[in-house]
């Protein structure tokens, strides 16, 4: 069984992210980390491929900064890594990403499952995940909290997925694209040997020509990045006994028309 995981580097969760005078998004000296959701996808790939005697590949799309995420994946124990980089890919919209991702998976040829973390926190969307599945013509199984059964020989998969009103159990055919949520597993920390191996790894870079992809003409474009408007709050501290505080707070909340 061959499992592919897509990942990317994102600023550390504690990073202060702002837009500079030139309109460019910056995060100062903050470290780049693997997109937090992707750790669960990587862990699931490692567990599932070990159980089935398969192999794992991790892929990033975009510039060199994504090598950080790929090396983290290698340090966790993923078998091989590669990056697809070319003009137009670093600020790709979901459709461009999915077109590229699907072409890369097609080039690998023997893939049974593609895993994603449920969302990319930098671009703030999961659009590319479903779209990768559609471009491949595979089932998309999103927000999966448990892979109940995975059978590469029978080409079947059974998952539990989280929807707003509860948990849906689905049976689907392989190959499939699966996005996973946080409660699917507990990601491992890379060990010393893994980190050393990953540090030495040379990551191959594929171009769009290598994977035979043509980018879509109708992609969406990000035209501007903006800092958040200042949150104008008039802070008011309410003191007193618990009963006095409660009465005063309810008076204020009714004045603010939120009750």
């Amino acid at each position: 069984m061959h499992i592919v995981v897509f990942t990317r580097s994102t600023p550390d969760t504690q990073a202060v992210v702002t837009v500079n005078a030139a309109g460019v998004v910056t995060w100062g000296e903050a470290a780049l980390v693997v997109n937090p959701w992707d750790e669960y996808a990587l862990e699931e790939a490692l567990v599932r491929s070990k159980a089935a005697g398969g192999k794992t590949t991790v892929i990033a799309i975009g510039g060199e900064r994504h090598n950080d995420a790929l090396k983290h994946a290698l340090a966790m124990g993923v078998d091989s890594a590669l990056r697809v980089d070319d003009a137009g890919l670093d600020d790709a919209d979901g459709l461009t990403y999915a077109t590229t991702a699907a072409a890369a998976v097609r080039k690998l040829a023997d893939v049974d499952v593609v895993l994603f973390g449920r969302e990319s926190i930098d671009v703030g969307t999961d659009q590319h995940i479903t779209q990768t599945a559609r471009k491949l013509g595979w089932a998309a199984l999103n927000t999966v909290s448990k892979i109940v059964a995975l059978d590469a020989a029978a080409k079947t998969v059974k998952v539990e997925r989280i929807l707003e009103q509860g948990k849906q159990t689905l049976n689907a055919k392989l190959p499939a694209v699966i996005s996973v949520t946080k409660d699917i597993n507990e990601p491992r920390y890379p060990n010393f040997l893994g980190i050393r191996k990953a540090a030495k790894a040379v990551i191959p870079v594929w171009t769009l020509a290598d994977i035979g992809a043509t980018l879509p003409a109708g992609a969406a474009r990000t035209t501007a990045y903006k800092n958040l408007p200042a949150r104008e709050v008039k802070f008011e501290r309410i003191d007193g006994t618990p009963e006095q505080i409660a009465a005063a707070l309810f008076d204020r909340l009714i004045e603010e028309k939120v009750l």
Partner: protein
Amino acid sequence: MSAVYVWIETYNGVGASASWEALGAGKVLAEALGVPLTAVVFGQNAANVANEAAAYGAANALIGDDATLNDYRLEAYAALLTKLVRENAPRIVLAASSARGRELIAASAADMDSAMLPDALSLSVSGDAVTAERAVYSGKVLSDMAAGGATVYITIRARAFKPNTYTAGAAANVTPVTPALTEDQIGTKVEAFAAEVGTVNLTDAAIIVSGGRGMANNPKDAPSGTPDAAVWKAQDGFAHVLQPLADALGAAMGASRAAVDAGYIPYAHQVGQTGKVVAPDLYIACGISGAIQHQAGMRTSKVIVAINKDADAPIFKLARFGLVGDLYQILPALTAEAKKRLGK
């Protein structure tokens, strides 16, 4: 005929309230583009849901009521939506950014090789282009994203758009549509659905009461032999101190990542960067320090109340009202006051 399509999400044959917000966003776009607003409803009871969509402003409705569409399945729904888009070339296809809406809109946009604007906070039309303002980098930065082409696909963030005024008895021109796939052509089968009962959906909630690490300061003693007293105390606090306040306010219960990671409450309640992004009218943060990753999930709440014993906690920087003290003394008083004022 060109139109703005709004997919109306249903669950057990009832329209989702987030879809009425989508019709609200759709109507503004339809008026700007000078095209009609069309509701797209699939599944059981589609005709009745279409009537409700009409009351919320839809002029037309396309309804697909068929056994293959009863349970929501992406394959079946996306194939039909794409068929309708291919036949009728709507200018816009829009839905609420729910789990189902996000994947359905993304799938059909991919089928059509059309641009998608995901999770819009606001929308504007200029000439042929539609621009969405959206939150990126975990809500730390905003972006403007523009799309053109024959059809633009859009999802909208919950509570970012208002529904149209409800007009009882309004009727839409209803056109039945037939599924694109037969049951044999649909590879995905729904085996079971375990509904969560009695909980308020966090992203739809007007009021959220959230607990953090401070929930472990419960003065109650854990029963002897409890393996982890802090976990027991916090769980007891969520169940018997925070939940009653949420019930009295008709609120959903949220939590910080610290509380979830410590095992105080299930992950489904987590608000923040790796949890849910919420924007209620009122957010009450109890024993939450306000780490940047929590702020990312709640900073656009209209009014934030912070309850924390540490007067220097970062959460007070976002708060409109700050209550410095022991949440185990303050929350029961708030619950009593809520019952008195709201009669619940």
